[in-house]
């Protein structure tokens, strides 16, 4: 085995596997810090600024502390499910990142480095599927705690996530109509060839997908499963220490995942903006990965903004919103897009 093959065949895949864990973690750490600072800024406060430069080490201190906290398992809890729930949530959101491409491939000498781990031809399906597996963790956690508030949180979460899956599926279909592929890389490439991002072609799809995506991640204003003023802490009320941290991190990882999906499906992934405007071609000199991160950060910022601004939905209004508005809207959208596709 030559040194080159060792590097390219063995070392780089291993590094990639490490990276697929590190990348979401890093994003989560940045996101937690960003959220606390941005929410503080919106509310006229300062936010964490004592630990490290401007408080950037705050999430690390939090995680380190949680790691050394006592792990309480209730006497009446279902121990197996109670333990498996945070793992399931964490596992599903991390695994989904395997199929999310981070940028275009580039060449190092003769070797082509792909910024993705698994280029699956059905990547979109896998990501959507894996991101929904997390709901099992929430159900298990809520049920196994053997406590009423977590159970109610879990029940809310099931209904909410199952309902909001439907508009997500329907809107993703419209993207697939145009790209003629459910490979995430192909979808981005198609936006490159089409010279327009799908978000501008299919604004309704984008809006419905984005709203449903927020609901999928249980974030404000759809944070009913963990509504603090009602359900104390929702499905993770009984969790402490590292298991709670898993839920906490998984929620943020899920947000990053949804933002990545929005960017890939509707905003051209790692493509620079205005690819067809000649005098803006210098934007291409910035690596695609940077563009990709900037776009994701924008959508993560929107998450925080919404959280600081809006009150929480009530359960019946939440369900009404999806069944009376989002699903019919996405159905009409689907028909319209299909019709246009047929005519063209």
């Amino acid at each position: 085995m030559t040194g080159e093959t060792l590097i390219f065949e063995f070392l780089i895949p291993v590094l990639k596997i490490i990276a697929v864990i590190l990348y979401p973690m890093l994003m989560v750490i940045v996101m937690i810090w960003l959220e606390r600072r941005v929410v503080a800024w919106i509310q006229g406060r300062v936010g964490p600024n004592r630990v490290g430069f401007q408080g950037v080490l705050q999430p690390i201190a939090d995680a380190f502390k949680l790691f050394f906290k006592e792990d309480i398992i209730q006497k009446n809890a279902d121990k197996f499910l109670f333990n498996i729930a945070p793992v399931l949530v964490m596992f599903s959101s991390l695994l989904a990142f395997c199929f999310v491409p981070l940028g275009e491939s580039f060449k190092i000498g003769t070797y082509t480095l792909n910024l993705w781990i698994a280029a699956s031809p059905v990547g979109l399906l896998l990501v959507l599927g894996l991101s929904s597996v997390g709901v099992f963790g929430i159900i298990f956690g809520g049920w196994a705690s053997n406590s009423k508030y977590p159970l109610m949180g879990a029940l809310r979460s099931v209904v909410q996530i199952l309902s909001y899956e439907i508009p997500i599926g329907l809107t993703v279909l419209t993207v697939v109509f145009f790209s003629r592929s459910i490979d995430l890389i192909e979808i981005v490439n198609h936006q490159f060839h089409a010279k327009i991002w799908f978000g501008f072609m299919l604004p309704v799809s984008f809006l419905v997908f984005w709203i449903s995506g927020i609901a999928e991640t249980n974030r404000a204003p759809f944070d009913l499963p963990e509504a603090e003023s009602e359900l104390v802490a929702g499905y993770h009320t009984e969790y402490s220490g590292m298991k709670f941290a898993f839920f906490y991190i998984a929620e943020y990882a899920h947000m990053v995942l949804v933002s990545s999906l929005v960017v890939i499906l509707f905003f051209g992934g790692w493509l620079p903006p205005f690819p067809n405007v000649a005098f803006l071609s210098f934007l291409r000199w910035i690596p695609g990965f940077i563009w990709y991160l900037i776009k994701i950060m924008f959508f993560l910022y929107l998450y925080v903004w919404l959280r600081a601004t809006l009150p929480r939905y009530r359960f019946d209004v939440l369900i009404k919103l999806v069944w009376k508005w989002l699903i019919p809207l996405s159905l009409i959208n689907l028909l319209a897009v299909a019709f246009i596709q047929y005519i063209l």
């Binding site: 406060r45 380190f64 050394f68 006592e70 792990d71 009984e238």
Partner: protein
């Protein structure tokens, strides 16, 4: 095994002779104490007047989020710091004790206000004369109610106390923090 209690004899081996820890644990001690002091998540529990000042401390003017303490956890399982803000009555005392027991180790208690410290202006049949009769208190903050500055000073004092502590001792010695 963080958090899990190991048999105390192994703990005694590690921390038997006072401050002379093995080098590794000393370093670890410092890191754990650093993280614990910088990420004190208070338990969002208010009892009486002092609770309003506690909220004012978290609000924009005084802003304890600077110290990473703005994550008021509603569930005792996830909190590190129990700010007992207000009068504890005999009816409430068992609840306070239970909430304290529900919190995961390591945990700290700040008695905020004269009522929590000593019963304050209420020497009556229904008021617990000092919360330290039911839970161990780390820092006492006097005042009726204490100003947010006062509470902040109490919290910073607690941070200093944590910085001086030896967390590994507590982890390996299961009886270190137990009081009965």
């Amino acid at each position: 095994m963080p958090g899990k209690r190991t048999p105390s004899n192994s703990g005694e081996d590690l921390t038997s002779d006072g401050g002379r820890h093995p080098f590794l644990l000393t370093k670890l001690d410092r890191w754990i104490a650093w993280s614990q002091k910088n990420s004190l998540w208070p338990f969002g529990s208010g009892l009486a007047c002092c609770a309003i000042e506690m909220i004012a401390t978290a609000a924009a003017r005084y802003d304890i989020s600077r110290f990473g303490m703005e994550l008021f956890r509603a569930s005792p399982r996830q909190a590190d710091l129990f700010i007992i803000a207000g009068t504890v009555t005999n009816k409430m005392a068992p609840v306070i004790r239970r909430l304290w027991e529900q919190m995961a180790d390591p945990k700290w208690v700040v008695a905020m206000g004269n009522c929590a410290v000593s019963g304050g202006p209420f020497p009556t049949y229904s008021v617990l004369q000092g919360v330290d009769k039911v839970v161990p208190v780390d820092v006492y903050v006097a005042g009726c109610p204490p100003t947010p500055q006062g509470l902040l000073h109490g919290l910073l004092t607690l941070q200093e106390k944590i910085a001086r502590s030896h967390p590994t001792k507590d982890i390996f010695n299961s009886d270190a923090r137990r009081i009965d």
